[in-house]
């Protein structure tokens, strides 16, 4: 089996459709995975080993074998699969994840814990530290 078919079979087993969330292969391609791999050249060797599959084995059986016998290859394949998936714009949209965004705020705004009494309770419970004068 070619690398792309092997990878998509493994990725779809790892990340199937579930509820609103699509399967890996519905939103991501092997080319997307290769682009992700370009960010992590350290994984390339393991990734290639991980896709050298026995066609007689199912995706689950192949992953089980990799996990037991070649942890680096298992890690490379699964890392690329999950990171490619959660980098996908459609997947992020479904999750409601804008990425690590910039959030503007007013640094001088009065924080709610100062007005709702919660921090006042902390103060009312009194001193926590042990003083050490003379020691």
């Amino acid at each position: 089996m070619s690398q792309d078919k092997t990878f998509l079979a493994l990725a779809d087993f790892l990340i199937p459709a579930h509820g609103e969330m699509p399967a890996f292969g519905s939103v991501c391609s092997f080319a997307d995975a290769q682009k992700a791999l370009d960010f992590r050249v350290d994984l390339k060797e393991g990734f290639d080993r991980g896709l050298d599959a026995d066609p007689a084995l199912s995706a689950e059986a192949h992953l089980e074998k990799l996990n037991k016998e070649d942890g680096a290859a298992f890690s490379a394949v699964t890392t690329i699969a999950i990171c490619t998936y959660y980098m996908n714009p459609r997947v992020r949209e479904l999750l409601g994840y804008p990425g690590q965004e910039s959030v503007q705020y007013d640094s001088k705004a009065t924080q709610i814990y100062l007005t709702d009494g919660s921090l006042g309770h902390v103060l009312a419970r009194g001193r926590k530290y042990r003083p050490t004068p003379g020691l």
Binding site: C83, S102, Q104, K108, R127, R130
Partner: protein, 557 residues
Amino acid sequence: MNVESLSERGARARRDEEVDVAIVGAGPSGSVAALHLARAGLSVVVLEQGEWPEYNDYTGARPEHELVSTKLWHPNPNVRDNPNDYPVDTSTTDINPLMFAGVGGSATLYGAQWMHFLPSDFRVRSLDGVAEDWPFSYEDLLPYQLEIEREVGVSGLAGDPAFPPRGPYPFPALPIGSVGLRGALGMERMGWHWWPGSNAIPSEKFGELNACVRRGTCLTGCPEGAKSTTDRSHWPLALKAGARLVTRARVKEVETNEQGLATGVVYVDANGRDRRQRAKLVILCANGVGTPRLLLMSGGAKNPDGLANSSGMVGKRLMMHPFASILASYEDPLDSWRGPFGQQVYSLEFYETDERRGFVRGSKWNCMPSGGPVGVSGAIGSKVYVAEEGRFQDFWGANLHENVARRFGHSLIWGIVGEDLPEENNQVVLSKDLVDSDGLPAPQIVYKVNENSNRLLQFNIDRCLESVHAAGAIETLVSTPVRESGWHLIGTTVMGDDPRRSVVDQWGACHDVPNLYIMDASTFPTSGATNPTATIMAVALRNTRRMIAERRNQKVA
């Protein structure tokens, strides 16, 4: 001049030039010493084995962030595999030491949680009958703590009853967000202490530092230039004051003369050539692993056990703060990818000793966001929440989607930092077979989490679970002790008055080599349970001020 152009400045000293001070390491303590010594008119050269940070390499604002940061910005040098770092032999330790070589030091990858030690931290022998008291007190150090806060640009809220009264922070506290509010809710329902987080992240623009935008990627380098690291807070001023900085300079030996005084250092430059930097004074600021490693590599035939080691204490008493974490998920959204990360809320409820608990000393808790979908899935990465013996299917397939749906955007993490008691068996030694990219012996860590720490962590985990459930948690995941958690490297060249039992005096001067100083956390007699960078920088400032004041009485070669 902006910070990006600084790397073009700071040429090395002229051949055979003797400078007043050579400093090893451009992290928090070395940067403080360099700035203040240069301002006092001393000639200063700093040798840093790493390079200036490239802010464009911080991926926090880009989609590939979670993929790239688990390698390029991993805090474990063995994972990062960058030739500027040295590898560490971790075959004999329960906890991996975490560090980064570069201008700004390991703080490049810190969470910027800014905490003072408490008064009792300086008096553990007197109060609790363990370890040693420090040679100075909380009150002695406080003025330097406050001065450093102004240099660093700390944000926070004064008035915490867990500390003695103090003045205001330079900047208002960062927003604590839904994560911080939920963490506080649990503590409030238990009637326990909590306080809005203090962080070395200004909430407003300050010098070369931009205001925090809550990007939430503090631990993997701040692409905004908002997290305070000394490449931005101190080095622009230090270079202006005349300090010189040589990057990719790996110091391999501190040299001494027949009288046993330091004469300078030998370092390997970027081209792999040995160079000598002569100096009247040498200051080591290479962290609690790098500093003892350098001393053990120095000394020559006259000092087969290493330089400044007549006490036999160099490398011993390593403390790394055993750490546990609890991820708690809630039904309602917490926007838990948003920063700061950093601490949004902290607690010192269980900081002080209570003998009824079955252990001495205590802990600090910090409440943080849980990050992006890959991290909370638990499927890859540091395996913080993955049992090594677990089935892979537990984290993939439908389970992956359900785990992410339950945790992503809906969870927080409480980190529990436990005070680590000093034990001589926990130590840094030189590896017999692992070397760095220049062929120098790597450090080997020999470290076991002790029984006091195990009890301390379990007690605090139990309490933390009570707190998160009180706030409505629907799922909790516990990791203890976290192997990848040795951010705080403390105690390996201990300070004290007795040269038979300590390496340096209270001013950081080596008992054996009076013009050789150590100014990083190696010198701390105890570890406290708070994040140590504030104390590291304050102690460095105290030592530096003393050095300047006593310069005419300083013995030199």
